[in-house]
């Protein structure tokens, strides 16, 4: 679609070689905690209609996160964007931004995946600048919120028990 945006070719462990439209590259202006120095990512679809996306590092082929929007899972998620984030990302209105949360998928039990509501990824859609926003209320927002309740898992797999 993009007229003449240059393309950058990157190597990834999970997706092989990718041609990334440079206009789609997300720049983290402050690092994802624990991943200092890795500030360029691209967001990839998992599958059509999937509630998940991948956030792949351009600098570390092995680094990719699964991300989602908690609303897909009926999780109520509203927060006041802190002033430092508004200022750093130059956010004027809520419609400027996209919000994702990081998903942790346990190796031994993927269905017990959780998402981190305390440190959402906020992206300014016009500038593609992003940051992991740190919400200061760890009573209201937790880092391990189950995406799928046991009840909803039963509904997905009516024939599987135990």
């Amino acid at each position: 679609m993009g007229a003449n945006s240059p393309v950058k070719t990157i190597e990834t462990l999970r997706f092989g070689t990718l041609d990334v439209d440079t206009s789609a590259i997300i720049q983290f202006v402050t690092p994802i905690l624990g991943f200092e120095g890795l500030n360029e990512f691209v967001i990839l679809d998992h599958e059509p209609d999937s509630p998940f996306n991948w956030m792949q590092s351009l600098q570390d082929p092995a680094l990719s996160f699964v991300i989602t929007n908690p609303a897909y899972f009926d999780i109520e998620y509203e927060f006041v964007l802190p002033e430092d984030a508004c200022s750093i990302l130059k956010v004027q209105s809520p419609s400027d931004i996209l919000v994702y949360t990081l998903v942790t998928i346990p190796d031994d039990n993927p269905m017990k995946m959780t998402t981190n509501l305390l440190g959402p990824i906020v992206i300014h859609m016009q500038t593609n600048q992003a940051m992991q926003v740190i919400l200061n209320d760890n009573k209201k927002f937790q880092t391990k919120v189950r995406l799928l309740s046991d009840a909803s898992l039963d509904a997905f797999n009516p024939n599987e028990s135990g």
Partner: protein
């Protein structure tokens, strides 16, 4: 580490524009007020650590595409919901453009 003694109501100034004031001391509880420019982030350290730990766990190393594919199969409903769920996260940038009163310093 610089160590300073302060009384209630006294302030430390960092870099000319960050003020840290001791507001109250009760037993082993110290109430601290921080006044800083908007772009300065102020957090409790344990929240930092919590997010750091969660980020490390979220980093996908081995759980590969098989897990994701099985998830996708298990999630038809959530998947369908995706189209209607978009945009339902509400955000309110605080302060906005009003410049009338400086925000009260958050207490830590």
């Amino acid at each position: 580490m610089l160590v300073l003694s302060r009384k209630i109501g006294e302030t430390i100034v960092i870099d000319n524009n960050i003020q840290i004031t001791i507001l109250d001391v009760r037993g082993d509880n110290v109430k601290v007020g921080v006044a800083a420019p908007r772009h300065i982030s102020v957090h409790r350290e344990e929240i930092f650590q919590e997010i750091l730990k969660s980020n490390q766990q979220a980093k996908q190393v081995q759980t590969g595409l098989e897990a994701m594919t099985s998830l996708a199969k298990a999630l038809p409903k959530a998947g369908k919901k995706a189209s209607t769920a978009k945009g339902s996260v509400e955000l309110k940038p605080s302060a906005g453009s009003s410049s009338s009163t400086p925000p009260t310093p958050p207490t830590v």
